[in-house]
Symmetry: C2
Subunit: 198 residues, 2 copies
DNA sequence: AATTCTTTTATTACCAGGTACTAATAGTAA
DNA sequence: TTACTATTAGTACCTGGTAATAAAAGAATT
């Protein structure tokens, strides 16, 4: 938890406060009691330090982090599909929308990082396959033009008949911003009944 | 906060518990006391309900939400490169490491979502280009085998001589888990001095 | 009507992780 | 010695609970 530091002489106030900031930054879930043991000072000293540094108590720290998550969850399901699927005909076609936010762009030029555009298309290609589990096998993709901050990407997927091979399906995804093509991808997706671990 | 419901007769237990779940889902920051006022029952009833439904107390709810945020921040800097670059020879080669965490996999089978593996490769392909700004133009990718939760992906990029065209560079990326190839990608990357907005 | 069972409420003791305030003590500089 | 800063100690109080026990209210069954 807290590195055992041989502490012949206690740190001076300023140093301690510096380290305190770092410690809490590094592990926001630390209690005053744990901090007190780290620095070998009384709990009051820790609290005085927090006061001076304007660091809120553990519960307040957790609360504000939780609020962050909550806001994020509301706006962008972090774990699931990238982009919001607004239409889905299984094994036929699908449409998803994904708006490029601050966190998706290079800060220097506000152009979307390629992998977000890819992720939207990839998620959609997987979602459109009507199978217990589907995995991307390969893809051929082209970034037709760069996507800017604030633009809404509309990805349209259509499943191409899985001709010869039974377990592989071709899915074509085109992504548009205002009817202008920005991304094209040809995906080959595995569909496997047996949970397909290779 | 809590809709004022005319409450001639109190809800039966089952209904109340149903509504309780919804209420907490809709606003995880609600206290038992607020809930008690919503349902016009005693605070003990609310707590019995929470127990039966397996809903943890407010502070625990906040804590686990906060942990989510924190884990996300740690594992996936939303803004930056995906994967940690550990070696980089500009315009020549690069290596990055990326460990597959809970948030990167399908929950059903713990297989990594393709776009994370792609994102690592894509980030590396961009990073290896020694230019003010580089963008992925197109890519041909193959997911050789699925990557499991916990596995460490080592992506190796090598820049292929940008032969004919000045502004496009080919970058080959191979990703390995324990020396086993899991992903291959041929990227074509734009390098543009003039900040290349098309 | 009496009995049993479920549901609800009340009460009390206790907990973590604090805030807020007062006071005492230690160490150091003028 | 005095003055000042830094630290420690102690107490009361807070929120939002858990845990456990008991009593009361309501409904269903015999």
């Amino acid at each position: 938890m807290c590195k055992v530091v041989l502490k012949i002489s206690k740190l001076p106030k300023k140093k301690r406060q510096q380290h305190l900031v770092e410690k809490i930054e590094h592990n926001p879930f630390i209690t005053d009691e744990e901090l007190m043991k780290c620095f070998q000072v009384s709990i009051q000293t820790i609290r005085l330090d927090r006061m001076e540094l304007g660091i809120p108590e553990l519960r307040e720290r957790m609360k504000s982090m939780a609020e962050q998550t909550y806001d994020q969850v509301r706006s962008l399901p972090p774990d699931e599909i990238i982009g919001e699927i607004i239409d889905l005909q299984l094994d036929e076609s699908g449409i998803s929308i994904f708006e490029i936010k601050e966190s998706h762009v290079f800060s220097r030029n506000r152009i979307a990082r390629g992998h977000y555009v890819f992720a939207q298309a990839n998620s959609l290609a997987i979602a459109v396959i009507d199978d217990e589990i589907a995995l991307t096998a390969s893809a051929h993709i082209r970034f037709v033009r760069s996507v800017q901050l604030g633009e809404k990407c509309i990805a349209k997927a259509s499943v191409k008949s899985s001709n010869n091979e039974q377990d592989k399906t071709k899915v074509e995804v085109n992504t548009y911003v205002n009817d202008e093509l920005v991304f094209h991808g040809d995906f080959v997706v595995y569909r496997s009944e047996d949970n397909g671990n290779k």
